[in-house]
Structures are given as structure tokens and as C-alpha cells.
Amino acid sequence: MTGDRPLLEIRSLEVVFPTPGGTVRAVREVSLSVNPGESVGIVGESGSGKSTIARAALGLIELPGRIVGGEVLWRGRSLSDEKIARRYRGRQISLVSQDPMASLNPIRTIGVQMTEVMARHLKLGKQQARRRAGDLLEKVGIPEPGRRLDQYPFELSGGMQQRVVIAIALSCDPLMLIADEPTTALDVTTQAQILRLISSLQKELGLALMLITHDLGVVAGACDLLKVLYAGEIVESGTADALFHHPRHPYTAALLGATPRLDGTTERLRIINGQPPDLRSVDIGCSFSPRCPNSTSYCESEHPVLEPDSRGGMFACWHPQNHLDARSVPREG
């Protein structure tokens, strides 16, 4: 494994979903890559296309959704070839999804759900797989792993279920973990446990991590690189430090301002006016322009493209924020 070749490469991806009300353009011109051992956070609100990107990275855009442009490459090979995708999925790229209760089959034991994956990819025998399953459960911090193997998901708490899902994801020694809102269904204290677990496993095993979330707090500690999605597009990307401390795109800045903070000092949250756009009829100009404080008529008619900035990051905006601290941006009051 060479360090300079990306594991996952998404190039100009376009995904649409036909609905009775029109075709939803869920992902537009998205390009990104993840290198071995890297932790990339993808931040966006609902409808921003972040989960679709997670699915695409597994070659799993399901009908009625369709990839209408671009490609997804895993170590240089296209995942739109179902045969190739099936070989890597669960083996080299694993998924941890939002709701662990929904992610596990309710009527099969945890042991069966763990061993079937190892039987498929690692061709392990029943006994071997079971032993490995027990070890994995221990590794993700589940007490009495032997007993758990014969239990059903509903006999475990949400936090324990998510640990099982993580154990399954790690069971074939993958190169990359995709965690799609892994803690949204969990309580705060459990969320902290799970985030800590994912981070430490990532470092320990040298995994690449793609962490998808709506919560800026969740990615702040866990990711080195960030991509901010708005209405199906990446509007800004860069290192976590750069994005949090010196956001260039007004949406990134506004999102930071709108996020309530425990250590915050202000009484009022900064708001972003209006609603996200209807993805069935996207404007020709900048999608954020109707809600943007910096917007001009130019923004409404000309679509900004991602451009590199001086710090190695990228942003798509005609009127970017200055290099100021996000917290010094004037707050609405």
C-alpha cells in the first residue's frame, strides 16, 4: 500500500433521484479523495447529499437513484462495476450507519450477523469466525462477548448495538471506514464513548475514515480534513483548523455561527435566513445566494466553482469571508 495513491476517489459525481414531484439532484459535481490513514469529515444538513456520497463510496446507489455523471474509484478501479464493488464492500471499505437498531437484522443473533461477513470475505470456518467475532466484540468494548454472540440485537442497548456494528465493520480488516451519522441516534454520553472508540480504532489500525455528520462538534475532534456540503455540492474543503477558525465560504461561517456552543458567550445565535433550496429545481447561480449575506446579483446568475485558496483549501464563492475568526463575524441581534 503506497501512501500517495488515494484509496477512494470520487470524480465529478452526479446523482439524481426521480420523485413524483420531479427529479431531485442529490449530488452535483462532487469530487473528493481519501488517502490511506486520513480522516475526512463531511458536514452537511439534511438534503445536502452527504448520505448519498456515503452510499456512492460503497458503489451502492440504489434504484430509483442513478449516477448520471462522474465516477467513483476504489484504488483506481470503478465501483460502478457491481462485481468489483461487491468484492471490496465490507472487505476493504466498511460502513457504520446511523441507526444501529435498524442496521442489524432484528431476528438473527449477533453471532450469525458477525460470522456471515467473515465467512464471505475471509472464508473462515464457523469456529474460527466465532472466535474472531468474540475477540472483535472485546476490542470494541463489549463485556461478556461470548454471551453476546447468542443474543439478539433488541437485547442490547443502543450504544452496545453500535459497538456491534463497528465490530462487524472491522471484522475483515478494512482499509477504510465510512461512518454515516454514527452517533445521531445515541445519547450524549454514549455518543462520546462511540466517537472516542472510532477515533482510537482509526489511529490504532491506521484506517482511513470518512465521517459524515450534520454536527460540527462531532467532526471537530475526529477529523483532520473537512468538506462542507450545501445543496448537493461541496462548497468548501480544507483542514479542520482552517475551516473552523478561518472559514472562507459564507455558509461555513454561518453554520458555525448558528451552532450553539457549550463554551459560547453570546445570548443570541446567529441565524441563517430562509430554507435550503428545492433540489428539484436548482438555480443557475450559487445555491446559497438566496440566504447569503454577501450575495450580489452576480451570485444569482453565475455558478461559483471550487477554487484553491492560499492555505491549501478550496472554496466555491464569489464573495468569500475574509481571514477572520468565525466568532468575530458580526452576529445578528
Binding site: 446523482v15 433521484f17 426521480p18 420523485t19 413524483p20 414531484g21 420531479g22 427529479t23 431531485v24 442529490a26 449530488v27 439534511s46 438534503g47 445536502s48 447529499g49 452527504k50 448520505s51 448519498t52 456520497i53 434504484l63 430509483p64 437513484g65 446511523q98 451519522e181 445521531t184 450534520h214 448537493g232 428545492d278 433540489l279 428539484r280
Partner: protein
Amino acid sequence: MSATGSTDHQLVRPPSHGWIKAVLQDPSALFGVVVLVMLVGVALFAPWIAPLDPTKQDLGARLLPPFYADGGSFEHILGTDQLGRDVFSRIIHGSRISLTIPLVSVTLAGVFGTAVGLLAGYRGGRTDTIIMRIVDTLFSFPGLLLALTILAVVGPGFWTLAIVLSLRIWMVFARITRGLVLSAREAEYVDAAELIGASPARIMLRHIAPNLTAPLSTLAVIEAAHVILSEAALSFLGLGIQSPQISWGLDVAIGRQYVFSAPWLILLPGAAIAISVLGINLLAGRLRIAADPQESAKRFAAAATVPGAQSG
């Protein structure tokens, strides 16, 4: 939370009136509509449509084959039976029973069953437990056999038949209604209406009842098909409609004795039953989808997977 968030919004949309259009675009449902319209039309206007008196015997013209077979003629377009009665006219008149029996039985069963289901679902607690225990018990009865016994002892007849058939299906309405009421009561907006102090009557009428109409009318259509089949079977066994009244099932039973010499006496009236029930069931299948917004979204998704199908 997903990229398809906007489709989730579609799911909570109330069932729109576009369903008429949807039904007409679906060939099997369209077939169902045509069958149903024909059944109703033929039953209503039977005396005017039928070329001959269905009960008029003509022993000189016994067992004449239909027009398509050797020796058939257009005078008796579908042939005659062992008493020389015109099969076509009998089929046309037979539609009346196939319309009235389900109408009466389903109405009786629907009204009674829905009332019981509403009571159980809305009162809950002990009332619910007792009612549902009774309903469960009745579900475990050997249905048709018990109906046969009642008809054998009490004696057949239109009303006995209609009542016995409604006794077999009212529990379905009770159970479904109760389920619908319970799930509607779970709805957060019902909870919200209770919180603002809306009266039970208002909650029932304004917030719960609208959830019942679509599924219950679909159920009525499904059960009507079921009743047509049961009536035909009971009449075939000699315990339903009795001569001189005309029923398709009864005519098949008569034709049975001529299975070697005059198979049309079986084939044609039976085909009338089969087509009617098939049409109604196909329509019901589409109605069920139209009544359930989630189901129709699924259907849309499925249709979108077919290459060349409409994509919005």
C-alpha cells in the same frame, strides 16, 4: 437526514385525488373498472339487455351449443341448457345476485364490523380486550362449514344467505378498523389535538375518521369479491340461491350433469364469476396502493426502476 430527504416529505403528503388518474393508467386496474361498470350496468338493466326471458323453457331447443361451436346459432348466442333456456340471458340476469348479495352482505358486515372496531379501538382497555377476544374466537371458526350447517338447518334463501355471508366477514372490518383507530391514535397530531382540549367527538371525526375511509372502502371492495365467490360456491353446493332465482353458481351446478355433452353450461356462467371477481380484485389491488401514500411512493420507485418508465 438522507439525501432523499425531499422524497420523505412526499410520504407524509395526504393521499391526493390523483388516484383516479393513477387507476386509469394502470391496465389491470382499468380492466377492473370496466368489469365493475359492466357488472353494475348489466345487473341494473338486465331485463332490457337480455334478448330472451331467462326462465322461459323451450324443450324443443334443449342443449343447443353456443355460436362458436358446431350447430350453434346467433339465436341463442351462448346456447341453451337442458330445459332450453337461453344461457346468455341467464348469465345477464345472474349478475343481479352477484351484485346484490355482496352489496347487502358487505354493507351489513361493514357497518356492524366498523362500529365494533371503532368501539374497541376508541374505548380501549377492557372493552377492547373483550371485543377482540370474541373476534379472535370467531376467526378460528371453521367458516364455510359452519355456514353450510346453518344454511342446511335454517334453509337457504336470499336473506339467510346474505346474513350468513356477512357473519363470516364482519370480524375483518372490526379488526382492521380497530387497528386503524389505534394507529391513528398513536399519531402525534391526535395527541396534539387532545392536548389543546379537543372533545373526543371532534378527535374521532376530524382527526381519526379521515384515516379510515380509504382503507375501509378498499377492504369493502376486497370483501365484495370474496362474497361473490362464497355465494357462488354455496349456490353451487345447493345451499345458496335456489331455482327459479338465477345465480351463476347454481347454473354451473346444473351444468355439471352435462359435463360430457354440454361443457358450455359450466364454462360460461363460471367464466362470468371468474371475470367479475378477477376484475374487482385487480381494482382492489390498485386501490390499496392509492389509499396508502407510502405504498404509492414505493410503487413509484419500483416503476422508476423499469427502463423507459416515466421519471417525473
